[in-house]
């Protein structure tokens, strides 16, 4: 039965149910306990499960993420909350050298049921050190899985799936999504965690996106429809692995593809998407694949400038229009 929830409430519900069902689940991070979490995701859990399972940590991202790695080696299911992805820079060793590699380097002897929850993205004028995306950095690390929920329902499903998985998973939450609303069905069977979904069907072009940008892509599709352009919008939901089959099936139908990402354009998610899709769909494409992405610049503090550094709905509309033009000419 579905009920309306905020994104953070969906995550909170997922945490609570997993902790209730499995006593090897515990969470740790800065202010996750008494304070209830910077975005309230662990609200109420400290009172319910106590300090050993909801652990307030010192400001030691590398240290407490490493703690999670060690606990996962001996069969626990730690959920490490890093306050923002910007601070995950301090935990890169634990994530990249630890979580992603230890099971492999041991020849497959150890589980690594670690979840690292990190809010990221450009929010409200937090400036360059607090407005990064960085998903492309983790995508380049074999051994990590990355989930990017854009809706409360996916936040609920994917956090539960991530906790239940024995593989290390980074759950990228967008700071501007925590207070978005959506229906959440807590009993329905979820799709596989890595499965991309078609949010809106269309025939003229495929827009591939994820996290907050997937919502903007849907808004853009509404605008485009007014002009007679039917965009198919796919929410990737997972950046590692990527559900190529769903993308390719759509491109084979629309013959055009636009990737929309909030992260910087250079060597970003879109670069990987476009390269792989060019390899796999070249003969199906009627136009070169295009990207709408963040500018390659540290995010300025000033609100107007900040907004100008990341894609907005009109940018997506404009890029889609341009992408669709050549065919119209060819048809004439």
């Amino acid at each position: 039965m579905a009920q309306e929830m905020l994104y953070w409430q969906a995550l909170n519900r997922a945490m609570d149910l997993e902790m209730e069902e499995d006593d090897s689940v515990f969470t740790l991070g800065e202010d996750v306990g008494l304070y209830g979490g910077s975005y309230r995701v662990t609200d109420g859990l400290y009172a319910k499960y106590g300090e050993w399972r909801v652990r307030d940590t010192p400001i030691s991202e590398g240290g407490f993420t490493g703690l999670g790695v060690g606990a996962a080696l001996v069969g626990m299911r730690p959920v490490v909350e890093i306050m923002t992805i910007n601070f995950a820079m301090l935990a890169l060793d634990s994530i990249v050298n630890g979580a992603a590699k230890l099971s492999f380097m041991s020849g497959g002897q150890f589980p690594m049921a670690l979840v690292v929850r990190v809010p990221g993205g450009v929010a409200h004028q937090l400036a360059a050190q607090h407005a990064q995306r960085l998903e492309q950095m983790f995508m380049n690390v074999p051994g990590l899985r990355i989930a990017v929920p854009s809706t409360p329902q996916d936040a609920y499903w994917q956090l539960r799936q991530a906790i239940a998985s024995d593989e290390p998973i980074i759950l990228l939450e967008h700071e501007l999504l925590y207070f978005t609303k959506g229906m959440v069905d807590i009993v329905a069977d979820p799709p596989p965690m890595h499965r991309a979904v078609v949010r809106r069907a269309g025939k003229d072009l495929t827009i591939l996106s994820y996290s907050r940008m997937a919502l903007l892509a849907q808004e853009a599709a509404v605008e485009l429809a007014k002009e007679g352009i039917e965009a198919e919008v796919i929410d990737l939901r997972s950046l590692s692995p990527i559900d190529w089959e769903t993308c390719i099936a759509s491109i084979n139908k629309t013959h055009r593809v636009l990737v929309v990402e909030e992260d910087c354009r250079f060597a970003g998610t879109g670069a990987e998407m476009v390269a792989t899709l060019a390899e796999r769909c070249f003969f199906s494409l009627d136009a070169p694949p295009q990207r709408v992405a963040g500018l390659d610049i540290p995010t300025p503090y000033n609100g107007t400038l900040e907004a100008a550094t990341i894609p907005r709905v009109p940018d997506i509309v404009e890029a889609s229009r341009t992408l669709c033009k050549p065919t119209k000419k060819a048809a004439e």
């Binding site: 590398g62 626990m76 099971s103 998985s165």
Partner: protein, 350 residues
């Protein structure tokens, strides 16, 4: 101390010494590649600490961990086969010298990023505390690790939450080529631990009996609820940092100062950066192993013939280990993919 324990300590130290000498030889023959960090000189630490632990305790080691694995009871063949990069190795040929794991024996790995193992060990200790279990974790690291942030973050969390963990600093005086007084503002490393409310002591890491006793007492304190403990074992490696290190950085004057304590290290200096033969080592004076032998013979715990028998036994073990490694097939690319996806189970991804 029981006779049986003494014999075990001697056996383990000899095994570690002979194994490592053979590893160096096999490296020269190119049967072993990559970085190879050897342990001769430091045997008293591994043997003393790990023999004082219970099999249910967890061991977290460093990249200089072959001896730790051997003392823990990992068959020498599996250790050697890992060095050879073979399927029969401890980590199936995926880890190599610096990344050896044995889940069954709670040997939780060699770690090649200095200091990164400390938070991981703390995570195991946290689990033990959360589950209210009687085990402890033993976390080895070198003197170089005490300058890493990860080390201090780990100590802080261990002290803060009173975790069941024994930190063992193998202070061989060198962070590769930088001597301790040139890398630590406080060269008495155990003193740096005072900030974290963790009891810490320095012991003679060349004397296996002292290491064994100190570890036993520290583990007993942990099991009584005393929280984390810290032991700094002052030791010395007879070789360079790794096989890639010509060992030209350790000044003669520093060696002279060390001479009174450890005649063997002094002898090594005079050999112009070449590793000495067993005969040359013996001629230099009593090292950590000969000290123990002397003690055992003097106290009537062993006859010279028994010592010879142990030596012959470890020679045979190492010989067989090399043969096992040579006979073990190389791992396949399939095995590498399986190792990567070992935790994916039945889940099919795209």
């Amino acid at each position: 101390m029981e006779r049986e324990t003494l014999h075990r300590l001697l056996h383990d130290m000899l095994l570690a010494r002979v194994f490592e000498e053979r590893a160096a030889e096999e490296y020269s023959k190119r049967n072993i590649a990559g970085f190879l960090h050897l342990y001769p000189g430091e045997e008293a630490v591994a043997a003393g600490v790990i023999n004082a632990a219970s099999p249910s305790d967890y061991i977290v080691s460093t990249y200089r961990e072959h001896a730790h694995a051997l003392v823990r009871g990992v068959p020498a063949g599996k250790v050697m086969a890992e060095l050879f990069g073979r399927a029969g190795g401890m980590s199936g040929g995926m880890g190599g010298s610096m990344h050896m794991f044995d889940r069954e024996r709670r040997f939780m790995g060699g770690y090649a990023i200095v200091g990164e193992s400390c938070p991981i060990a703390v995570g195991i200790a946290y689990t033990i505390a959360l589950r209210n279990l009687p085990e402890t974790v033993i976390c080895f690291f070198g003197d170089g690790a005490v300058n890493q942030g990860a080390f201090h973050e780990a100590l802080n969390m261990a002290g803060l939450w009173h975790l069941p963990i024994l930190f063992v600093c193998e202070n061989n005086h060198y962070a590769i080529g930088t001597e301790v007084h040139r890398h630590s503002a406080v060269p008495e490393l155990y003193k740096r631990v005072a900030a974290y409310s963790i009891p810490a002591e320095k012991i003679d890491g060349m004397d296996v009996l002292k290491v064994y006793d100190a570890t036993r007492h520290a583990l007993a304190r942990i099991r009584r609820g005393g929280g984390p403990q810290f032991i700094e074992c002052e030791t010395y490696r007879y070789r360079g940092h790794s096989m890639a290190d010509p060992d030209s950085h350790r000044p003669v004057i520093e060696l002279k100062a060390y001479q009174a304590h450890d005649p063997v290290s002094a002898a090594i200096r005079n050999l112009e950066f070449r590793y000495p033969s067993p005969e040359e080592l013996a001629a230099a004076g009593p090292d950590n192993i000969t000290h123990l032998v002397q003690h055992m013979v003097d106290a009537g715990h062993a006859h010279a013939t028994e010592v010879e028998a142990i030596k012959a036994d470890v020679q045979k073990t190492v010989e067989e280990a090399v043969q096992f490694a040579l006979d073990s097939p190389p791992p396949t690319m399939d095995a590498a993919w399986q190792a990567l996806h070992c935790n994916r189970h039945q889940e099919v991804l795209i």
